[in-house]
């Protein structure tokens, strides 16, 4: 009895032993969900807003084409530019790039191949049309105009 009384007198501490574990679980979650951006962006783009959006399901079957205004205006000027992978590209580079990307798609997903066009909303249709024509020539007929969710009042 005496012993029990002694224990009760000690100030109870909240155990923080499990805190690292909790933090580690969170850490692992973010580590797993983090996608390190594959390509450095050389163009600025802000996608337009829309309501009729479809999600791209298969990331392995997706090729990206960026169109926007160059970040480095001294080197690339102020006109809209196309970026493929890590570099600013010419319009004639689109077709080989798409073909290469298509060959990298795993066999079972070839039919799902889709090109995601990430185009700045202030770009004019001229560039976009040129890209679209190249995609048609490369036989990549499924495209996705990347857009943000727009909330209508």
């Amino acid at each position: 009895m005496g012993r029990i009384n002694k224990k009760k007198k000690e100030t109870p501490e909240i155990s923080t032993a499990s805190l690292p574990d909790i933090i580690f679980i969170l850490l692992f979650f973010f580590m797993v969900t983090t996608v390190m951006r594959k390509s450095d962006l050389l163009v600025k783009y802000q996608t337009p807003g829309a309501t009729e959006l479809t999600k791209i399901k298969y990331k392995q079957a997706t090729a990206y084409v960026f169109v926007g205004f160059p970040m480095d205006e001294d080197v690339y000027g102020t006109k809209p530019r196309i970026q493929l992978n890590d570099a600013i590209a010419k319009i004639s580079d689109v077709q080989p790039y798409i073909k290469e990307q298509y060959s990298l798609v795993p066999e079972g997903l070839k039919g799902q191949f889709i090109v995601s066009l990430r185009v700045d909303k202030d770009v004019t249709m001229g560039v976009v049309t040129d890209v679209k024509q190249e995609l048609r020539k490369a036989d990549a007929l499924k495209i996705n105009y990347s857009a943000k969710k727009r909330i209508d009042e």
Binding site: L27, F30, L53, M125, V128, Q133, R136, K137, L141, Y145
Partner: protein, 199 residues
């Protein structure tokens, strides 16, 4: 006091563990961009070197949309705002021969879109968005009829996806999907943009 402490079993101080983990956590929190890959799905016609033959279409079946480089919209030679486009598209597709200058049936309805090279991409996307919304609304009505109000068209196409295995009655969904697509085909014809400029 000091003596008593020394006698206790030595423990590795783990209190800094949390701090280390926190630092890592914050690093990943900051670098994470949960990448939403969403957008407007669009199909392109296959490339042909020879220009496609002129097909004769009855003019009433074609809803002509023109956009100039000042982002102004001309639908069937009327100047309209984008917000009114969906309404007109729905009226055109689901006319079923009632009004003389709109389509004869949804199957025959065609939307022809012509834009300038100077048209802004944002306007183009908005037009695509409105047209998609119009078709979706009509397809949803059809889906509602077919499934007795249980599913929308989006749900039907989700469940008809062969790579998605969570749904059981895939075949039924496929039948519905094909039926709706056949009854209300989405025919948007895009002409090659011209560099008219113009004011």
């Amino acid at each position: 006091m000091a003596k008593g402490k020394k006698r206790g079993s030595t423990e590795i101080n783990a209190s800094s563990m949390a701090d280390i983990a926190f630092l890592l956590l914050i690093f990943f929190l900051v670098t994470t961009t949960i990448d939403q890959d969403k957008g407007i799905l669009h199909g392109l016609p296959p490339w042909t070197d020879v220009p496609p033959p002129d097909i004769e279409l009855r003019e009433r079946n074609v809803l002509e949309i023109l956009v100039n480089s000042n982002n102004q919209l001309l639908v069937e030679s009327d100047y309209i705002e984008i917000s009114a486009l969906k309404e007109i598209a729905i009226k055109h597709i689901s006319n079923n021969g009632k009004l003389p200058n709109f389509s004869e049936s949804p199957k025959k309805a065609i939307i022809s879109l012509k834009n300038d090279r100077g048209t802004s991409y944002e306007i183009y996307i908005q037009i695509q968005n409105e047209l998609k919304a119009a078709y979706r609304e009509l397809r949803d009505i059809e889906a509602d009829k077919l499934t007795g109000g249980r599913m929308t068209f989006d749900q039907i196409s989700d469940c008809a996806d062969p790579l998605d295995e969570i749904y059981k009655n895939m075949d039924q969904c496929n039948v519905w999907k094909e039926k709706i697509k056949e009854d209300i085909p989405m025919i948007i014809s895009e002409a090659e943009p011209k560099d008219v400029g113009g004011n």
